[in-house]
Each structure stands twice: as structure tokens, then as C-alpha cells.
């Protein structure tokens, strides 16, 4: 008997097939405004910016990226921006070739007010390592895409989300407290994370 069949046979014998699934959880009502999202994001070490109008975005990002070094932007960002100190993410590059990226500018979707997380899916971060290799990560978030809690956030995930091969929830910058519980930002990935709220992102 294969290991698979052996394990499954034992599990089948042990499983009782009695208790049914409890169904959906009804969470307590909570606020889903930018203010709450921004304050949670701040609490987890992130930097809320804005919200701005899309017309002001270019200017806001120039500020954030000033003197940063190599700035790379992902799909769905370029159309919102004019020319600036940034390059578009080249197609078909190896993740290793992005090791020197200082700032990654990516289009996020779905903000979660209760935990400051922003969703980033495979379409907007085609090179999966990019948001972790950069020194600074900037995510753009349409403010109307903020939901109160994780239940609604997951319900909002596009039906084909799991077909992008990766789908991230990112809440604040990379952090560790492994040395005497002292919080240090930038353990491996981005040392800082800014989320730019936009009122009318196309």
C-alpha cells in the first residue's frame, strides 16, 4: 500500500463524518473608512499617505521616491502616472535581477480596516519576489476598496484569485522581534511600507 493510501485509510477510519460545518461567521459591525484603515496601518508600522486624487498621484509619488535609487513600478500603475524617476517592471526578468530595487510601486487591491492589510495579486506583482526584495514598498489603494474586516476582505477576493498562483495580504513592513522582543523593521524584506490612498483610481 502506498503511503497515500495508508494515511488516507487510517484517516478515513478515524473520521466520524458527524459534525457539520458551522457556516459563515457573522462579525460585529465595524467601520471601514480610510481613517480607521490608516490608523491600523500606522499601528503595524506602515505609513498611510493621502488619500489623494489621482491627478495628484504623480506628485505624491515623486515625494515618496525622491533620491531613492532604482524605482520599479508594476502593471496597472504606469497609466496613473506621468513621467518620473521610475521604470516599468521589465517583462520576463529573473527575480534575482531585481535584487537592487530600492522602491517597488505596486497596485494593491482591497484594504482591510481591522488589520491594515492590503491585497496584492499576481496580476499586479508578476514577479513574486519583487515586493520582498525592495527596500521600500509603496502600494496604491483605491479608498473605496477598503472593507471592515478579514471576512469581507476574503469575500472580495476575485473568484480567480487562487489562479494567479500567488496572492498576498501585506500588513506593514517586514519586521522581527526575535532579539529580546525588540521590534526591528526590515528583517528581510522592505524596511518601510507606504500605502497611498487614492479616491478615484481607474
Amino acid at each position: 500500500m502506498s503511503a497515500r493510501d495508508g494515511v488516507l485509510a487510517r484517516v478515513r477510519r478515524a473520521a466520524r463524518h458527524e459534525v457539520s460545518h458551522p457556516g459563515a461567521f457573522e462579525p460585529a459591525r465595524m467601520d471601514s473608512g480610510w481613517e480607521r484603515f490608516a490608523s491600523t496601518l500606522h499601528a503595524v508600522g506602515g505609513e498611510p499617505v493621502g488619500p489623494v486624487q489621482s491627478g495628484d498621484l504623480s506628485w505624491a509619488l515623486s515625494e515618496l521616491c525622491a533620491d531613492a535609487g532604482r524605482v520599479v513600478m508594476g502593471p496597472g500603475v504606469a497609466q496613473s502616472l506621468g513621467p518620473g524617476p521610475w521604470e516599468e517592471l521589465p517583462e520576463g526578468v529573473s527575480p534575482q535581477s531585481l535584487a537592487d530595487v530600492a522602491v517597488a510601486l505596486l497596485r494593491g487591491s482591497i484594504g482591510v480596516a481591522e488589520n491594515g492589510a492590503v491585497a496584492l495579486d499576481g496580476r499586479h506583482a508578476p514577479v513574486r519576489a519583487l515586493p520582498y526584495l525592495c527596500e521600500r514598498l509603496i502600494l496604491l489603494l483605491e479608498t473605496s476598496e477598503i472593507v471592515p474586516d478579514m471576512h469581507q476582505a476574503i469575500a472580495r477576493m476575485p473568484p480567480d484569485a487562487t489562479r494567479f498562483h500567488h496572492f498576498y495580504w501585506i500588513s506593514g513592513p517586514s519586521k522581527t522581534a526575535d532579539i529580546e522582543q525588540t521590534l526591528v523593521l526590515g528583517a528581510h524584506g522592505p524596511r518601510s511600507l507606504a500605502v497611498v490612498g487614492i479616491r478615484d483610481l481607474q
Binding site: A14, V44, I154, Q181, H188
Partner: protein, 456 residues
């Protein structure tokens, strides 16, 4: 006598400053948890819901495992099954060997600790680098993690600085956590870029979609699974949950219970390999199906490894994780050890608790941890023949009022002798750090008789 949590054992956290620091650091996580969960008015309901999902899932685990397997395979992942830790290590090594892999980066996985993967691979000339900072510290120190969420919490900054100095040539005497973390980052970044395979654990596996979910704060797992072409994810079979919607419940509970964060910095859902890469998922039993068949103890499989029971446990905080002698320490470690550990020592661990119940009260999936410890004690696997005879005798004495009073009278008579420390004093163990109370005088029964007798 066993050396578990014993004063003579080198594995017990040293008294004094290390003890004080450890207790404070770990209890601080408990405090953060308290603050975080207090912000959720429906937190207790959420725990109940999570418990219900887990109970259901374990009840249909066969169906969910098959569903997960077929969905993961449909997404392009290769699913492997391992009966035990040895089989798991063998599968992982086989995958690495077939591809000529020499350098592996690994993120935190309690399962691979349980299986002893690192020593297995290292003995086969592979370079395995733990990339979680805490795991890296214990790897450099050649020891087990002492906590499932903060593996190096038993180490002081000075000790970590010294380890880094020896292994990474950092300046001697450097003990600033910010700078030490930066040194580790600089040491690990090239290793990530050069790695040929990444091994990660799995926090949740979603049957509905074949997705694995990995939660970290550092982002190390993400670098490990997105830079090298080969990603191997190891998971116990109990990690499966039914649907994506169920994930929300667990994500709301996990980080809040662990560290008081509303969610970990990175929650990564991976469905199938990335373009040009490979994803292999190893499903490991290693005693879990046997535990599932045990109706008294199956609920311990609901654990999501948040570490809240360790943080709140007054015994764990005073003993340190190494005193438990297992990959997983603390209350959940003591509950799992008799079922999953290969060491006989593990069977004594259910005794290592005062049954204060704080673990059960924090558990996000409502495992009755102290009830579980008590239930393991009922198997009496810990008790030798001598102890059984003594207990039988004690039960005879405590079962008869006349014998109890006679024994009490004898103890009263010998009180001054028993109160002193001398070799052979039957109360010697009590007196190690305590004294006897003042002489109690006549028993309650005697005084009651006098009191009521005089009135009548």
C-alpha cells in the same frame, strides 16, 4: 528521576536574570494578545466558530485531504504523502538530490523540527540555512527552538551578539538588536539569491482551492519560495481547512493570539507553482491519524500553533522551552508529546502543569488544554510501579477517617523534625524552596468535637 523541568537539568532556564528576562518577554506577548483581542467585541464568538470549523474538518478530514490533493494537483503542485518523519525527510532529500540542489533556504516550520529535517539534510552534505531570524539564531547555537513563535526567546541580546560574532564575524561585543538584525539581513540576502530550493511550512491548506497559506512577519518565507525555482512545502495533515472563507476566521485569530498583531505582516496564498518553477507539497502523518482515532485527544489536532498557551503558561515561562525536550514546548507540547513524540520522556510531560487552566482560556480554537493534560495523566503512562504502590497506600489512608487522623497525629508529633531540612526527611522535596507552615494544632475534627461537645 527524569530530568524534565528539573533543577539539575542543563535544559532548565537558568535562575536569576535569564529567568526574569524570559518570563517578562514571554508574558509581554500575552499582554499584547490581551490588548489585541479586547478590541474585538466578538472575539469569544470567533473562538467558538474556529473550534466548530476545526471539529467539522477533523470529522471529514479524509474528504478534505483528498479534495486538497486534487485541487493542488490541478493547480500544478505535486503532492507527496509521508507516513512519518523519516519518510518526510526522505521525500524532501529525494527532491533535492534529483535536481542536484546543494543550497537550501528554509523558513520556520514546526513540522520539519518535529521530523528532524535539518540534521538529516546536513548529514547528506546539503547546506540548509534557516532564514527566520529566531530560527537562524538557534541554528547557529545548535539547539532546538524554545518557543514556536519566538524561537530564540531564551537567548539574551549579548548571547546572540556573541553567536553572530563567532559565526558571522560581526564586531565583538555588539548587542544592539537593530544592528544585529541588520547583520543577519546582510548575511542572509545573498544566501536567498543563491539558493536552489526553498523549504517552508504551511499555516493553512485550503481544500476548496488547493492553496497553501504561509504567515510570517519577516518575509523570509516569501523570499524563500519566490527566488529559487523549487519550493517544497511541508505540512501536517491536520493543517487543512475547508474553504477560503474559513481562512478569514483563522487569520483573525492567529496573529492576535500569537503576538497581539491584528495579522502577520505577510500572509501569502500560494496556489500551484510560479511560471517556470516547481511546487511540491509534502503531507505528513507522523502519528496524527492515530491521534485522530483517539476520541479523547483528537481535539488537540485543532491547534494552529499560535503559541498563546506558551505565552500564558506560568510553568513554561519559568522553565523555558528546552526543559520540555520536544520540538514544541509548553502546554500544547505537553499535550502532543505523548501522542507524537518518539521519546519516552514525552509521556511525563502532562505532569508538567499546575492545571491552572490559563492555556485553555487563551486557546483561539478552544482546545481544553488542561483537560487534555489531565486526560493524558489518566493513561498513567508516566507512573512507575513504585509510584503506583505508594498511591494505592495513600488512597487507603486518605479513604478512612481513622487512618487519616492517625497519620495526622503522627505528622503533628514529628512536626519539628519534619520542618527541618535533613537528608531523608520525607518532606525534603517540599522544603527545597519552602518551609512548613506553623504547627496547625489539633485537627478540625477534634476541635469541632470539643466545640460542639461543650455546647451540648
Amino acid at each position: 528521576m527524569s530530568e524534565l523541568l528539573d533543577a539539575r537539568a542543563a535544559t532548565l532556564l537558568p535562575d536569576g536574570e535569564p529567568l526574569r528576562r524570559h518570563d517578562a518577554a514571554v508574558f509581554d506577548l500575552r499582554r499584547r494578545r490581551d490588548a489585541a483581542v479586547a478590541a474585538l467585541p466578538d472575539f469569544e464568538a470567533l473562538r467558538t466558530h474556529a473550534q466548530a470549523i476545526k471539529t467539522h474538518t477533523l470529522d471529514y478530514l479524509d474528504a478534505y485531504l483528498e479534495r486538497f490533493e486534487s485541487q493542488a494537483a490541478a493547480a500544478g503542485a505535486v503532492v507527496h504523502w509521508a507516513e512519518d518523519g523519516a519518510a518526510h525527510n526522505d521525500i524532501v532529500h529525494g527532491l533535492l538530490r534529483e535536481r542536484g540542489v546543494r543550497r537550501v533556504v528554509k523558513s520556520k516550520s514546526m513540522l520539519t523540527e518535529e521530523c528532524g529535517l535539518n540534521p538529516y539534510l546536513e548529514a547528506r552534505d546539503l547546506e540548509v540555512v534557516d532564514t527566520d531570524l529566531g530560527e537562524r539564531i538557534v541554528q547557529l547555537g545548535q539547539e532546538l527552538p524554545s518557543h514556536i513563535v519566538v524561537p530564540a526567546v531564551h537567548r539574551s541580546r549579548a548571547e546572540i551578539g556573541e553567536l553572530f560574532h563567532v559565526h558571522m564575524q560581526t564586531p565583538s561585543g555588539e548587542s544592539d538588536p537593530v544592528r544585529l538584525t541588520e547583520y543577519a539581513r546582510r548575511d542572509l540576502r545573498p544566501r536567498f539569491l543563491a539558493a536552489e530550493a526553498g523549504i517552508t511550512g504551511v499555516n493553512f491548506a485550503i481544500a476548496e482551492t488547493g492553496t497553501i497559506v504561509v504567515c510570517t512577519n519577516e518575509g523570509n518565507a516569501d523570499l524563500g519560495m519566490s527566488l529559487p525555482p523549487l519550493h517544497i512545502a511541508s505540512m501536517g495533515i491536520e493543517k487543512v481547512i475547508p474553504t477560503l472563507a474559513d481562512l478569514a476566521t483563522f487569520l483573525r485569530l492567529l496573529a492576535r493570539s500569537a503576538t497581539g498583531q491584528p495579522i502577520t505582516a505577510y500572509t501569502s496564498l500560494v496556489t500551484g507553482p510560479r511560471a517556470g518553477g516547481e511546487l511540491h507539497i509534502v503531507l505528513v502523518d507522523n502519528g496524527r491519524s492515530r491521534l485522530l482515532a483517539n476520541s479523547t485527544h483528537r481535539s488537540s489536532l485543532a491547534c494552529i500553533r499560535c503559541g498563546a498557551c506558551l505565552n500564558t503558561c506560568p510553568v513554561y515561562r519559568r522553565a523555558g522551552g528546552h526543559a520540555y525536550g520536544q520540538a514544541v514546548a509548553g502546554p500544547i507540547g505537553a499535550v502532543l508529546a505523548p501522542a507524537l513524540s518518539s521519546q519516552a520522556e514525552g509521556r511525563r510531560l502532562p505532569l508538567a502543569s499546575t492545571l491552572c487552566g490559563s492555556c485553555s482560556a487563551v486557546c483561539p480554537v478552544r482546545i481544553d488544554l488542561h483537560g487534555q493534560l489531565l486526560a493524558w495523566r489518566r493513561t498513567r503512562a508516566h507512573a512507575g510501579a513504585g509510584e503506583r504502590v505508594l498511591q494505592r497506600a495513600a488512597a487507603v489512608v486518605l479513604g478512612r477517617a481513622a487512618l487519616l487522623r492517625a497519620a495526622g497525629a503522627l505528622v503533628r508529633l514529628c512536626w519539628p523534625l519534619l520542618a527541618r531540612r535533613w537528608p531523608g526527611n520525607p518532606l525534603g522535596v517540599w522544603l527545597l524552596g519552602r518551609q512548613l507552615p506553623a504547627h496547625p494544632g489539633a485537627s478540625f475534627a477534634t476541635r469541632y468535637r470539643r466545640l460542639k461537645g461543650s455546647k451540648r
